[in-house]
């Protein structure tokens, strides 16, 4: 029997529905999450099954309902807080960074904050600078938070189920350009642990470490490279914290060349951190300097020809990889 295929959005919805059936403490808060099912329609059908007591439309008050999520998580609810666009995370920062991330440590381990914040990242949707950012590096920087970046429907489902069951605050970033991406998703119940990277494609000549939206781009570049006789390995960390350093370093030791790509800003970002991990772990195995590829250091512009050059593409990765391999 051929494996079942779901879109990324369907996989996310299925993970939520299954966890809500399994655990009556799981509730969803956010803007237009109930009947509207969010503008991306990711949550369609959930309010019909679980009711408005568990799928709660909020006012446009990101700080307020995130804070309510933190308090509810501390006192027996498993909230999934929906932040429609990742750009709106700026409004939640005190609640996430000063409250959710620190409550466990600061209380000497007494209080826990088992909540998930689902949000989006990614440019090229023609939405301009306040609806296109990829701000996961900010959260990866903060001890006490976990950060998940699924790149396939299968990973999205398995990682989200794990995130909901985790006892810590987890920020779950979904690439909004990927919601319609289809991929195989097992029928049976499964979860994927946080902190375990996945080698999405094996190769010998160069490693492409890619996160979230960049994984599919890297896989596309790998196909182009294959035609040039270059074998690229694509490693997807899947979570930036906890981070599976070993899988990344082992791959680089094998191939001796690496490009790190992430849709957040390259400077001071996730790509910078991954490059540092590789430099510390595999420096003497490298035949070329580690290369970072991230969003250009500009606010994301609206005009399509401008926007398209701000993020790494199959073409730009292909070119960079070829050069690194001396071809």
């Amino acid at each position: 029997m051929p494996e079942r295929e779901l879109t990324f959005a369907q996989a996310v919805r299925e993970a939520l529905a299954e966890e809500m059936r399994r655990d009556s403490r799981v509730c969803i808060f956010g803007e237009d999450v109930a009947e509207a099912g969010t503008p991306f329609k990711v949550l369609s059908g959930l309010v019909e099954e679980f009711g408005r007591e568990r799928v709660l439309d909020t006012p446009i008050s990101e700080a307020g309902f995130t804070g309510i999520g933190v308090g509810a998580a501390m006192t027996g609810i498993r909230p999934v807080v929906d932040i429609m666009f990742g750009d709106f995370l700026t409004l939640t920062m005190d609640q996430m960074v000063n409250q959710a991330a620190k409550a466990h440590y600061m209380s000497g381990g007494h209080w826990k904050v088992p909540m998930v914040m689902r949000t989006t990242l990614g440019a090229t949707r023609r939405s301009a600078a306040q609806h296109s950012q990829s701000l996961h590096a900010w959260f990866s920087h903060v001890p006490g938070l976990k950060v998940v970046l699924p790149s396939t429907p299968c990973d999205a489902k398995g990682l989200l189920k794990t995130a909901i069951r985790d006892e810590n605050p987890v920020v779950f970033f979904e690439d909004k350009m990927m919601y319609k991406l289809k991929g195989p998703v097992p029928e049976e119940d499964y979860t994927i642990p946080l902190g375990v990277a996945d080698v999405k494609r094996e190769g010998e000549d160069i490693t492409l470490v890619a996160t979230s939206s960049m994984v599919q781009v890297a896989l596309g570049a790998a196909v182009l490279l294959e035609k040039e006789g270059l074998s690229a390995e694509v490693v997807d960390p899947r979570t930036t914290w906890p981070l599976d350093e070993k899988t990344i370093v082992d791959s680089v030791k094998k191939t001796s060349r690496v490009i790190v790509m992430d849709e957040g800003y390259g400077r001071y970002g996730v790509a910078a951190e991954l490059a540092a991990v590789i430099a510390e772990g595999a420096f003497y195995d490298l035949d070329a300097p580690v290369k970072r590829m991230g969003a250009m250091h500009v606010p994301i512009p609206f005009s399509p020809p401008l926007e398209d050059v701000t993020v790494p593409t199959e073409g730009s990765i292909f070119k960079a990889a070829k050069e690194m391999c001396g071809k």
């Binding site: 509730c27 007591e53 709660l56 909020t58 006012p59 008050s61 700080a63 307020g64 309902f65 995130t66 804070g67 309510i68 999520g69 933190v70 308090g71 509810a72 998580a73 501390m74 006192t75 027996g76 609810i77 909230p79 005190d94 609640q95 000063n98 409250q99 409550a103 466990h104 440590y105 600061m106 209380s107 000497g108 381990g109 007494h110 209080w111 826990k112 088992p114 001890p143 006490g144 976990k146 006892e167 810590n168």
Partner: protein, 334 residues
Amino acid sequence: MSTVTSKPEAAAGTLNEKEKWLRAYRQMVRIRLFEEQVNELYTRALMPGLAHLYSGEEAVAVGICEALRIDDYITSTHRGHGHCLAKGASPDRMFAELLGKEAGYCRGKGGSMHIADPATGNLGANAIVGGSVGIATGAAFASKRLGNGRVAVCFFGEGALGQGSLYEVMNLAQLWKLPVIYVCENNLYNEYTHYSETTAGTILGRAAAFGVEAATVDGQDVRAVNSIAERLVKRARAGDGPAFLQADTYRYSGHHVGDVNREYYRSKSEEQHWKSDRDPIKLHAKWLIEHDYADSAALDRITVEVRSEMEAAVKFAINAPYPSVDQVDEDVYA
């Protein structure tokens, strides 16, 4: 070791009037003498960092917490020692936390501004002004959803009125009819600035805008605070929704223990007026004596007992060991 650590009997209504008000007196004295010891620890350079004293505001914490069950929730502030004690925390573990000792409520990782105690429903003191308004409201959401009848009290100073998140959560609490009580302790000063310079309109008008039940009380009168708290807690528990209480009070000390030269923002005569004429402990003592619930000798005995309790608690904390360094990265994640 403490003589008053929890109050299930008060919640159960088994205390008679005399016992109830003597207990409130003792609780206020405990907070006052706790803070005296904190100041002493600071001036003797035995305490790392700073602390924000609650002296002068005791009737608010005690009046409110005496209306709560042990499993009701509170969130507190940087000026939180009074709330923690009033909700049932033990002074020995509190002092240990203030000194960064492993025996402290947070194993030394939180300090003065972060005391948290699940056993008494204390979700934690918070060093971000207005930082806990969401947490308290979220706890009220959980109580309603889980049907456990718990009420959440969110303490904050009038300085938090400047934070927008307060209005976001009050709006939601009213929409969702959550059992949360926002207690605004108006001690007149946002740190070093009189609140009239920072606060347009009226305080109660803010709550009224959302249709939240709102009231003002003399925060130096423990019985008045308790009476209104009983009413607001009862209606919250009954499912009638949130409330906002403005308690007018005064901070005897500076913003923190190191804020000793205060004349550029308030006069000594103003401070003296509150201490002489509006002191919540003196006012309650007078009432207890007038009602023949105690004589001054009995009240003095309470003070002596509490002082010895606090001295023993400080001694415990000073002698307690620091956490071992290998605990530094414990409890980052659950």
